[in-house]
């Protein structure tokens, strides 16, 4: 029962998810609309609670076991608790029951978002450019004909997408665009077909109960 019920649910709701794309009958469409607008929302709310609970449990465990960099888990739990309390009781822009301002110092969710999350997120991504530059210098070598071709295409696209490319030659941006439009699309389309067929096969295997690793315990 413990295994069969989840398999049955996946089969029923998997099939219910496919049918509305094939049968336009109002009864089918209304059922689909009900499932999406009601059931899916409830499931999403449960998933959110499950996700947050799981995140906290992982970090609590890490602190208890004194795992690698366990001190950072306190930072996560602390910021999670603080922002949750401020968000739940202080409101997004400080309109809740909890005061979110001491003098000129505001600490509502809106202020935290724009003054902590935005700069931190931007800084983290900005650091990537330095690593990419260093990695490109060390690893991007014309070791073979294919690597040379890749390197040439990269130079053309890197210059062609900038105003400098147009200054060098008005044909360079068009050539860069051609590389993106033709050889790139050809490769991407092949990948897309492969991924789509793979997804279709995996989805069918899960719906039909052939693939059961998501239940836990491998593919048994």
């Amino acid at each position: 029962m413990k295994r069969n019920l989840p398999l049955l649910l996946v089969f029923v709701f998997g099939v219910l998810g496919i049918i509305p794309f094939i049968i336009p009958h109002p009864a089918v469409q209304t059922t689909d609309e009900f499932l999406r607008n009601n059931l899916l929302k409830i499931l999403a709310a449960f998933a959110l609670i499950l996700g947050l609970g799981s995140l906290l449990r992982v970090h609590m465990d890490k602190i208890r076991r004194k795992g690698q960099n366990w001190e950072y888990s306190w930072v996560l739990i602390g910021t999670f608790a603080i922002t949750s309390i401020i968000g739940l009781f202080g409101g997004v822009s400080g309109t809740g029951i909890l005061p979110t301002r001491i003098g000129n110092f505001a600490f509502d969710i809106w202020t935290i978002y724009f003054n902590v999350e935005v700069p931190l997120g931007a800084a983290m991504f900005a650091l990537l450019s330095f690593f990419m530059a260093s990695a490109a210098y060390r690893a991007f070598r014309a070791r073979s004909a294919e690597a040379t071709l890749l390197l040439t295409a990269a130079f053309i696209v890197m210059l062609g997408v900038l105003p400098l490319g147009n200054d060098i030659s008005p044909h360079l941006p068009s050539f860069a665009q051609w590389i993106m439009d033709v050889p790139n699309v050809a490769g991407q389309r092949g990948i897309l077909f492969g991924v789509a067929l793979g997804m279709l096969a995996t989805a069918l295997k899960i719906i039909l109960g052939i693939e059961r690793s998501w239940l836990g315990g491998g593919g048994e």
Binding site: N37, A133, Q188
Partner: protein
């Protein structure tokens, strides 16, 4: 230290310092120059420009702080275009993180117009000219649900108002009343709009994406599933150029101002790759000679 060492073993701190300098200097001394508008951006501009008066433009804000510098200028340029042409705008987010950024873009651009406006008619008014519907998880719900009824999916807007009481939402019921959806995203959402909303309801879709993910979106443009495409900072700068030349809107062009930083960074990376390869070829020919 041999010549080969000099060429192949440059200290990474030197690379970081040079890159930092060439990126920051143009930001400290900003200057915007005109750029050549490429066909994908031109197509997107035309697709928005040709939205019929009775239809709306949906902007899906799906970028986060990490990709803000690339995609936010796109949002500003599109909003300026839409508000100038009096195109009705519905804004949504498929994720929670971009909500603040979306609200920021909407409020800033509406304010830009309202400071110049002299009458109620000239002003950009919330509820009449644009509505921010907010966030509704999971993404599949709004993507499919809005095809049937937008107010059914978003019962209240971002500010907590009942959507069925807003004047704009009385005119815009579902995708049948939407001329185009533009997904401004740093991930997969533009594909989801094509896979679900376009295939099932025939919704026209355009996209604004980060440069790093550009290659995987070009097939959608070639097939015509995307009505247009903006890629990275350059795409945003092209749209800014188009808005300035076609609509005469002269404001600060953030993406265009950032292009010099991007240009110098690309040139520095190319130079370092050339230096690295020069060292590699010299060492390889030396090895061959010694053998």
């Amino acid at each position: 230290m041999t010549m080969i060492d000099v060429l192949t073993k440059i200290d990474r701190r030197i690379i970081y310092l040079i890159l930092f300098s060439v990126v920051t200097l143009p930001i400290i001394f900003p200057s915007a120059r005109s750029v050549r508008v490429m066909p994908p951006v031109e197509k997107l501009y035309r697709a928005i420009d040709e939205i019929p008066e009775e239809k709306a433009l949906i902007i899906d804000f799906d970028y986060d702080p990490q990709t803000l510098p690339e995609i936010e200028p796109m949002a500003f340029a599109i909003l300026r275009h839409a508000f100038t042409k009096r195109i009705k705008v519905l804004a949504i987010s498929l994720y929670v993180q971009p909500l603040g950024l979306a609200q920021n873009a909407l409020v800033n651009v509406a304010e830009e117009f309202n400071t110049r406006a002299s009458t109620q008619e000239d002003s950009i008014i919330y509820g009449r000219d644009y509505v921010f519907l907010g966030w509704q998880p999971p993404p599949l719900i709004p993507i499919l649900g809005m095809g049937e009824s937008i107010t059914n999916v978003y019962k209240t807007d971002y500010h907590g108002n009942r959507t069925d009481t807003l004047p704009l939402m009385k005119e815009i019921k579902n995708y049948g009343d939407v001329g185009l959806l533009v997904s401004l995203s740093s991930g997969d959402p533009p594909k989801w709009w094509v896979e679900y909303a376009q295939n099932r309801f025939g919704l026209k879709v355009g996209a604004g994406i980060t440069a790093v993910s550009a290659s995987e979106f070009y097939p959608y443009l070639q097939t015509g599933q995307f009505s247009g495409l903006m890629v990275g900072m350059k795409g945003a700068a092209e749209y800014e150029e188009q808005v300035e030349t076609e609509l005469g809107i002269k404001v600060r062009r953030k993406a265009s101002e950032s292009l010099p930083s991007l240009t110098y960074a690309h040139v520095v990376i190319i130079i370092f790759i050339v230096i690295g390869n020069t060292g590699y070829f010299i060492s390889r020919s030396k090895q061959r000679r010694s053998q």
